[in-house]
Each structure stands twice: as structure tokens, then as C-alpha cells.
Amino acid sequence: MAQSNELTLAEVAQRLDARAVAAADRLYVAVAGGLVSDLLSYVMANGRPGQVWITIQTHPNIVAVATLARLAGVLIASGFQPNQTTIARADEEGIPILVSPDPAFVLAGKLWEMGVR
């Protein structure tokens, strides 16, 4: 659970106008930085606990990778939509998935402006 001065994923979702499509009950976690990549192996090697991961990948493997790296959640950019398998797995694992029509570049910029580092 986040401290009062920390930015939560719920707040991020609200300010980005992003929609939570999985594990919406797990949005009250602190966001500690972020990373942008569509190579899942890169995220496995470089993801850090609490980060929000911006990607256009929607394959079910993103859930396993986010779980392994203990990320706060996945933010899917450019309007890509995860399928039912991905959503079901994310619900099971408790990995929030947010979707936004904005491209990754814009999302990263907005997160930076919110103070996410």
C-alpha cells in the first residue's frame, strides 16, 4: 500500500485517462519509476520492482514478465487491446493492466511530468 505522498497507479490511471482492464483492485500501489520496451527479454533483465511498464505488446507473456520483475503494472499504449487470455492471467496474478490510446512517447512524457522517475 502506498504512503500518502507517493503516486499510486490509480492516480496515474486517472491523470492519464487510462482504463484499467485487469486487476483493477490492485491499483493502490506506489509507482516507483517506469520503463518503456516492447522486448520482453529487456524487461525481464531491466525491470525493477514498482515500475510501470509502457508497451504495445499484449501477449499473455507480459503478465509473467511483469510478475517476475515485480512491476506495479503494465500500461498498454497506442490503443492496443490485450485479449481475454492476457486479462484473465493478469487478474489471476494481480498485475494491473491499463490501456490508453496515447502512444508510448506521450505516456512516458506525461508520467515524467507527474514526477515519476
Binding site: 516492447d38 522486448l39 529487456y42 525481464m44 485479449n83
Partner: protein, 249 residues
């Protein structure tokens, strides 16, 4: 009588924009034959447009030919879809075509997409943008290949550009394949050392030839009976997997 036959299951033809314009049936087959490669797989990016020409030409050479496509999935992963006959390859080609974005190729930037006959004569050009992702998932590509009796093989799984492991992190449990391909830049042993999850999986190596000189630069050794077995590609893939595991990889 050879005990083993060299197979290079990933060779592009002149239809791939990134491949040489001289990758036509007689030249490719002659090169394979001269180099002692007894089996080749001819694929092009998201198309099997030259499949029939290669199968027809193969009758004049001591080379067995599988034909098909190298499909790019929605995730950006390349998967070979190999068939033993032109009809199945054409059927897969049509199914994949429906999932292309519908843009045009830019030959000056990406290269020519040449359709040829069995003699290597140019019979046309494919104007579609083939060097791009389809809207099919890796699971769908594998399933569609199997439905048509083909063998799906994730291509160059070690490569950061369009390789299954870098792109998707690990082999997704829902992808149904018999064997996986390691690029010529890595040996099977090196791949297994780097990705321990590959330990139990049958791996092949291929050249991913884009020019004549690449053909046979990486091969997988197949037992002579399997090399000659007249069975559907999907079944051949199953036997190849057993063959590879039986030989210790």
C-alpha cells in the same frame, strides 16, 4: 549411402525484398546440391508466392524441398510455416494475406519482390508490403500451419530482431511447435547454455540465407531414412523432433 543428410530449412527466395534478386530456383537448388545440402526449406516474408516454382524445379536436383512462408506475428516474432506441397502453402499464403496491413512495398528502400517460374524467369512482382507484422498471434500462426499439415518453426529464436525469446521473453506455453530454430550466429549448445529452458526442446540451426553464398552455412543433420520419408510436413516435423532428441540434440 549417407547416414545423415544436411538440412537447411530456412532459405529465402527473390520474393523476399531483403534477399538477393538471384535467389531463384535453379541457382538456389544448384548451390544447395553442390554444397551437399540434401534438404532445404524455401520461405519468404509473409508469402509463399514462389513455392510452386521451387517444388517444380526441385525434380531436376538431388535436393528435397519444403516450401512456405516466414510469417511475422502481431508481436513481431518470425515463424516458419513449412509445407510439403504447393497447395497447402498457397492456402496458408491466402490466409496470411488477409492479415497483412494492405500497404505497398517500396522497392527502392526495402528491395524487390520478384515472382519467378521454375526456370528462374521473372513472371511478376508482388506490390504488397510483405516485410511487416501481420495481425496474427504466434499461437494463431502455429495453429494455422498445423491445420494445413505444415510444420511451424519459430525462426532464429535467439535474435533480438524478431526472435521468439528476446521478443516474448520465453517460449509461450500455448504455442504448439515440434522444433525451434537457432540462428547461424549461435550453436545449439550455446543457445541451451544461455536459455536453460531450451534444454529439453529439439533445436535446429539454419542459415536464413538471403544470398546464394549463405546457403548451407548452418545446417541440421537429419537421419537418412527421415530425409527420404514421404510423409506430410507436420508429421515430418514430429519425426525430426524425435530424431534430434534421440541424437542428443
Amino acid at each position: 549411402m549417407a547416414v545423415c543428410v544436411a538440412a537447411d530449412l530456412h532459405v529465402h527466395s527473390a520474393l523476399s525484398p531483403c534477399a538477393g534478386d538471384d535467389m531463384r530456383p535453379p541457382a538456389v537448388l544448384l548451390t544447395a546440391e553442390r554444397r551437399g545440402v540434401g534438404i532445404i526449406g524455401v520461405v519468404d516474408h509473409n508469402s509463399a508466392g514462389n513455392a510452386g516454382a521451387f517444388l517444380e524445379a526441385a525434380r531436376a536436383f538431388a535436393v528435397r524441398v519444403f516450401v512456405g512462408l516466414e510469417v511475422e506475428s502481431a508481436e513481431g516474432v518470425h515463424i516458419l510455416a513449412l509445407f510439403d506441397n504447393a497447395e497447402a502453402a498457397a492456402d496458408m499464403d491466402a490466409a496470411v494475406a488477409a492479415h497483412l496491413p494492405g500497404w505497398r512495398n517500396q522497392p527502392d528502400v526495402l528491395g524487390n519482390q520478384i515472382l519467378v517460374d521454375a526456370f528462374g524467369n521473372e513472371i511478376g512482382c508482388d506490390d504488397r508490403l510483405l516485410l511487416t507484422a501481420t495481425s496474427l498471434t504466434v499461437e494463431q500462426v502455429a495453429a494455422m500451419t498445423r491445420e494445413r499439415g505444415g510444420m511451424p518453426i519459430p525462426a532464429h529464436i535467439d535474435r533480438e530482431l524478431a526472435g521468439l525469446l528476446p521478443v516474448l521473453g520465453f517460449v509461450p506455453p500455448g504455442v504448439s511447435v515440434e522444433v525451434l530454430e537457432v540462428s547461424r550466429h549461435m550453436s545449439v549448445r550455446e543457445a541451451r547454455a544461455r536459455w536453460p529452458e531450451l534444454e529439453e526442446l529439439p533445436l535446429i540451426v539454419s542459415s536464413d540465407a538471403h544470398c546464394l553464398d549463405d546457403i548451407g552455412t548452418a545446417v541440421t543433420w537429419v537421419s537418412a531414412p527421415l530425409a527420404a520419408a514421404e510423409i506430410p510436413a507436420l508429421e515430418w516435423g514430429r519425426c525430426l523432433a524425435a530424431n534430434l532428441l534421440g541424437a542428443g540434440g
